[in-house]
Symmetry: C2
Subunit: 149 residues, 2 copies
DNA sequence: TATTGTTATACTCTATAACTATA
DNA sequence: TATAGTTATAGAGTATAACAATA
């Protein structure tokens, strides 16, 4: 809650500049999170595991969600089956469908990668002041809003 | 410029949670900027053009900066030469080296993609309040610090 | 016949190893 | 001989088109 003079709305030029700053910072952070935190799990594999975390899905559903072709998703899920991270099961009501779900090992892998990424972020926060951290905490909701709309 | 009670430092649990929130927001924003703003310029090509913006470089230098192999970078730069975005020139002092630099068209392409990406971000800002924008402006410096260290 | 899953084939970007030319 | 650039080849991801099996 600010008590001084209410800030004047940002000018058009300031908004353009802000847009550039926020975009660059997010892209750089994102790049470093991916490149420096997990070395064994490529992004597309990890993304599929996350999609299966809440509920089992078919290959086609995953292809739709990730916006890749069914054959392409098929290759990714095949690899994940070979790695023991997901399991296949026939749909009892529709013989054409195959249900994919996380194995316990797959669930552990998701947690492990998330932890690595968060630890990388956390290590960045060590160099910030308490005020800067508090500022980030309030900005997090706004960033989430920007990302989701 | 806060006047109320100075905020207590964030607890360990709050920091872990914040780390997760900021990471996810940045990754989602980054993903949408790439997927939704420019459809013709793949990320690795754009990145190379940006590296040549300030100064000409050799293929090997670019490979080192982008952390890919020299042959891989060679393919990317070949494509960019074919597209007319970069030009090759023999080094006058060392006949083994080839200097790569942006053409005027390449420079325009960089500006065009940046503008598209910023416009996407800008359109996201329309749904924010003035207070939220002002908060983001102050957070931008902190995010840049997180990304750069 | 319509739909789901799979296979066949090809294109792109990645890499390592080998070759060519210059210092 | 060392180094910069390039070429050869292979691996992993993407795609579209065609095929097989089930509803």
């Amino acid at each position: 809650m600010r008590t001084k003079t209410p800030t004047a709305p940002l000018s058009r030029a300031e908004l353009v500049s802000l847009s550039n700053d926020i975009r660059l910072a997010c892209m750089r952070i994102s790049r470093r999170v991916r490149f420096e935190s997990d070395r064994e799990m490529p992004p597309h594999r990890f993304s599929v595991l996350c999609r299966l975390e809440s509920t089992p899905r078919t290959n086609s559903e995953l292809a739709d969600i990730e916006r890749v072709s069914a054959p392409s998703m098929k290759r990714t899920t095949n690899t994940l089956v070979e790695l023991g991270y997901i399991a296949r099961a026939d749909d009892p009501t529709d013989g054409r469908q195959v249900i994919l779900s996380l194995t316990p090992e797959g669930r552990r892998a998701v947690k492990r990668v998330r932890k690595q990424r968060d630890e990388w972020m956390l290590s960045r926060f060590e160099h910030l002041t308490d005020e800067e951290r508090e500022l980030l905490q309030r900005a997090a909701d706004v960033l989430a809003k920007v990302a989701s709309e």
